[in-house]
Amino acid sequence: MKIDYTIDGETLSLLPTDMEYLLHDLGSIKHIIRNKKIKSVHLNLKNIKSFDDYTASVISYFHDNIKIFNISLEVLSAPEDFKALCDKIRSLQMPMGSKSKKKESILVTIGEKTFDTIYNSMKHIGYIGDLFISLMTIVIRPKILRKDETVDLMYKVGVSAIPIVGLISFLLGLIMAFMSSIQLKQFGANIYVASLVGLAMARELGPIMTSIIVAGRSGSAFAAELGTMKISDEIDALTVMGFDINKFLILPRVIATMIVLPILTIFSNFFANIGGLLVGVFILNLTLPAYINQLYITLSIDDILHGVIKSIIFAFLIAEIGCFRGLTVQKTTDDVGKATTSAVVSGIFLIILTDSIIAVLLTYI
């Protein structure tokens, strides 16, 4: 034990030099009380320098812990006003447990989660419906679109993303060409590296990779921006000023993303093919005209359009889910973090899911 103590008959005298020691030795003190049949405890504070609410709280906690043995506690060598403070703290009504650590049964949790999911899905469907109506309104009356805001967002979502999209696509093309060349070389089919990189990027990887990058960059940004606006009551302020949140905040983001994502996808295809071309020319010893000619023969306008149209659909999904998650933020900054994560995860999931659905549909149609 870190505390000096003496036992005189049925009285245990404790002489702590630090109140933390009293907490540290609580188990041992209880053991002594139980085994030595102690009836009263004298807590001598002559070595304690600070008589503040911390000291009083430790004594109160100590008292609560030894109360079960039905013994008395006497505090010695303490100022009178400190004893009054101890009494006040001891008389405080401590709340039961903590709200944040509330434990529910598993059935209740499953039930709550199910209802939450159903409720959120219904809300999401309603939100997408509202968004479509607003989109139609914009088509009929393009003047109501906030053009400056939309152009600014196009810059943020599109132009700023070109370096990262370019670099990742270039490296992806390089890797694809390099990996496929190992196999194709065995059959003397080096030239098909151009077809493989070109086709895979135009139809599948181009739109998917670009969309994933944009979901990570801009989908999360939309959720964080709108979430923060929600917390600081900016959304409520706009609403009471008579603004339609969909038209004022969401549509510029959705439209900007739908315009720039297809363009980014074309950039992505271009950079990936540069990567493939470098491997083709410098590692597989193909000539530049041969590589470009093979690419020209393989790729049709349909393939490129296929990717571009898919990227428009992905753009809608990324922007709408980012904004929706932002608007679901309730009151705390914690919610903003959750909304941002959820916007990225849901965005990527929706991209892959939609791509799979399109692939299946196109196979059977």
């Binding site: 609410d53 911390y54 009083a56 709280s57 906690y61 405080l92 709340p95």
Partner: protein, 252 residues
């Protein structure tokens, strides 16, 4: 009474932009000291310099006879233990309950025992008349309650100096009076020196022992002393400030 804070020839400047200059004042231990002035006069900037959050200054700031510049280099953590700050909008962590907000500094600096920390938090909440609100989140309570909870967090470690930034701004007169009474009570009960930034004159006259008045145009102190001294000053700028405040109060 000895000085707990002393500011000598302070000049605050962001780049080319001078915010305040020729600032000289001292705060006595145990008093309630107010920094007043119109919007944009540099009150909050001065407060942030006194607690070491901003460092764009020349001149000297002494806290308990120690140079703040040296404190920042050598013992800033210990200094932060000695002061408490309640920010204008509360700055309570939204993901934590009120008790958890107050337990945060207690568990960092005082004790690892959660039960003891919770007990101290409950005690601090009772000191600011928020008994029973331990498990409420900041989003569940009103603006006045948030201010009181942030004061409770600021006094969690029994600071020697308590800095309050606009403790009554945005509150109705009744809640403002409650906060004023709370500040007086804390000052009396805990003996804490309180430095508050405000533009609420009613509050200043009811609680402050002394004050300085900052002027946004002159970028310096235009009056200092007890509230009565400052109010009865014959200086034109000081009179203009009080007239402006009076007019805005009448308009309301």
């Amino acid at each position: 009474m000895e000085n707990i804070v002393e500011v000598r020839n302070l000049k605050i400047q962001f780049g080319e932009n001078i915010i305040l200059k020729n600032i000289n004042f001292s705060v006595k231990r145990g008093e309630i000291f107010a920094i007043i002035g119109g919007s944009g006069s540099g009150k909050t900037v001065l407060l942030k310099h006194l607690i070491g959050l901003l460092e764009s200054y020349s001149g000297e700031i002494y806290i308990e006879n120690n140079d703040l510049e040296k404190i920042k280099k050598k013992s800033y953590d210990a200094f932060l233990n000695e002061i408490g700050v309640a920010f204008q909008y509360g700055a309570l962590l939204g993901s934590l309950t009120l008790a958890e907000n107050i337990m945060l500094p207690i568990m960092e600096y005082k004790t690892d025992n959660e039960a003891v920390a919770r007990r101290i938090a409950t005690w601090k909440l009772s000191l600011v008349d928020l008994e029973g609100f331990d498990n409420y989140y900041p989003s569940d309570i009103s603006g006045g309650m948030k201010k009181r909870a942030s004061i409770a967090r600021a006094i969690a470690l029994n600071p020697k100096i308590l800095f309050l930034d606009e403790p009554t701004s945005g509150l109705d007169p009744i809640t403002s009076t409650e906060i004023d009474n709370l500040i007086k009570r804390l000052n009396k009960r805990l003996g804490t020196t309180i430095i508050l930034v405000t533009h609420d004159l009613e509050s200043v006259f009811s609680i402050a022992n002394s004050l300085i008045l900052l002027d946004g145009t002159k970028k310096t102190i235009i009056a200092k002393g007890t509230p009565f001294d400052v109010f009865s000053s014959s200086d034109r700028d000081v009179q203009k400030f009080f007239e402006r405040i009076k007019k805005s109060a009448v308009k309301l």
